[in-house]
């Protein structure tokens, strides 16, 4: 059969590797340096290569590395998501449905059916856009990111892992092997809300101790160069019983902690105002859920 393929239809690169172990992948990364990119789900990188936004010479596809697609819970109740665990697989998994409803809510807000079947949670945080849905949830869940490199393994809290827009603190020869999420604290209620256009998202975790909010964690996306925590807003709630006035104050305080930009989709003021509204709504839902009410 004769065929001609327009080269613009296909991504461009020179060398393609399919390592079968993490060690092999890491040594390839070390050898290829800055000219290499790891490929997993492909939902971001394939597009970037096709549009020539990036032009890596070496593509290291990790999909043949055994065991990286796991979604499991350790004996101490920590959730482990491997680098190849797709968004759909994580959202569907029994442990996440039962133990981390916030993560499921955030993941189901990412892309559409096909993208969730292909894209991975790790991919979502390795090129973290300012509104990365899973990153916002992982921030309040206190997740850590486990990396392998030529100098061994290390685990870094997600807040430190994300170093800037679409940037992480990983060095070139490192790859993320898994994300770990500690068990949900007793008495916790959570909520995730997202505005689709412009993208603004909020995750909230509150611990209810006999009617007092003993711990509050609030993260926002799309309103700063990276997803952020809102520590001042969290402090407004901590140790108090959340009244309507207190929740309104929490929203206003959180909005004051944002630094959104203006672009063709929206003004900075609108994004800031939406972050205020979403925080108020999410705090109400999280608090209701901490009391066993369904909410939402």
């Amino acid at each position: 059969m004769t065929h001609t393929i327009n080269p613009a239809f296909n991504p461009a690169f020179e060398h393609y590797y399919q390592p079968e172990t993490v060690e092999e992948a890491v040594s390839l990364l070390a050898r290829c340096g800055k000219d290499a990119r790891l490929l997993a789900g492909g939902t971001v990188l394939i597009n970037q290569m096709r549009s020539r936004a990036v032009a890596p010479r070496h593509i290291i596809n990790i999909s043949r590395v055994a065991g990286l697609d796991k979604v499991t819970v350790t004996e101490d109740g920590t959730l482990i998501m491997g680098a190849l665990a797709t968004l759909a697989a994580v959202a569907k998994s029994a442990p996440v449905r039962q133990g981390w409803p916030l993560l499921r809510e955030a993941i189901l807000a990412i892309g559409l059916v096909q993208q969730r079947n292909m894209g991975t949670v790790v991919g979502n945080i390795c090129r973290p856009v300012p509104s990365a849905d899973s990153a916002v949830a992982l921030l309040v869940l206190g997740a850590s990111v486990v990396m392998s490199g030529t100098k061994g393994n290390r685990a870094i809290p997600i807040a430190e892992f994300i170093a800037g827009p679409r940037a992480t603190m990983m060095v070139d020869s490192e790859m993320v092997t898994e994300v770990r999420v500690p068990p949900m604290p007793a008495g916790a209620g959570t909520a995730f809300l997202k505005l689709a256009m412009p993208k603004v998202n909020v995750a909230v975790l509150m611990i209810n101790q006999k009617g007092t909010c003993s711990e509050a964690r609030i993260a926002l996306g799309g309103v700063a160069p990276t997803p952020i925590r809102a520590p001042k807003a969290e402090a407004v709630l901590r140790g108090k019983s959340p009244s309507d006035e207190l929740i309104d104050e929490t929203g206003a305080t959180a909005a004051g902690e944002t630094s959104p930009g203006t672009d063709l989709r929206s003004s900075a003021d609108y994004r800031r105002e939406m972050s205020r509204v979403l925080v108020i709504r999410a705090v109400r839902i999280a608090w209701d859920r901490s009391q066993g009410k369904k909410g939402g």
């Binding site: 059969m1 239809f9 296909n10 690169f13 394939i46 759909a88 892309g111 096909q114």
Partner: protein, 159 residues
């Protein structure tokens, strides 16, 4: 440099030699002449190139052909059995679930994955299941009606 690739498409094995940067959508269309795989946006947004990979809908334009090795691929060409249309195909015809028909293969494959996992979906579940497939003609109402009608037909034909 071309590499050997064994693709399993619609239950048949295809030994191929392809460049690693060949997209699965291009491979299916140009190497195997499965032109039911439609390429529209070529950016993973529209769902026209949807194929089932081990039963799950994916965008074939966002995937390299070499990465589909070892997976069972289903395209629209693989749905009819022994000359008999799949109930979804029949329902799309009966309910006129299309105008131009360009999105139809992807729509039907996403609908098949949905009905395989959830044989009696509610209307919101159908909308959610087809959210990754765009119909530029705007035939959504009749597409949803087609899926509902196929679900009923498949239920009554089930032993």
């Amino acid at each position: 440099m071309k590499q050997a690739l064994n693709l399993s498409v619609n239950g048949q094995q295809w030994p191929l030699e392809v460049e690693p940067h060949l997209a699965l959508s291009e491979c299916l269309r140009e190497e195997l002449a499965l032109t039911g795989v439609r390429v529209s946006c070529n950016q993973g947004h529209c769902g026209a190139c949807t194929v089932l990979l081990d039963g799950e809908p994916v965008n074939a334009c966002m995937m390299l052909a070499v990465d589909a090795a070892g997976k069972q691929i289903t395209t629209i060409e693989g749905l009819a059995q022994e000359g008999k249309l799949h109930p979804l195909q029949q329902a799309f015809i009966d309910n006129h679930g299309m105008q131009c028909g360009y999105c139809t293969p992807g729509m039907i494959l996403s609908a098949k994955a949905l009905l395989d996992q959830n044989p009696r979906p509610t209307e919101p579940e159908i909308r959610e299941g087809l959210a990754g497939n765009l119909c530029r003609c705007g035939s959504y109402q009749k597409i949803i009606k087609s899926v509902e009608s196929a679900a009923k037909a498949m239920e009554t034909s089930r032993p």
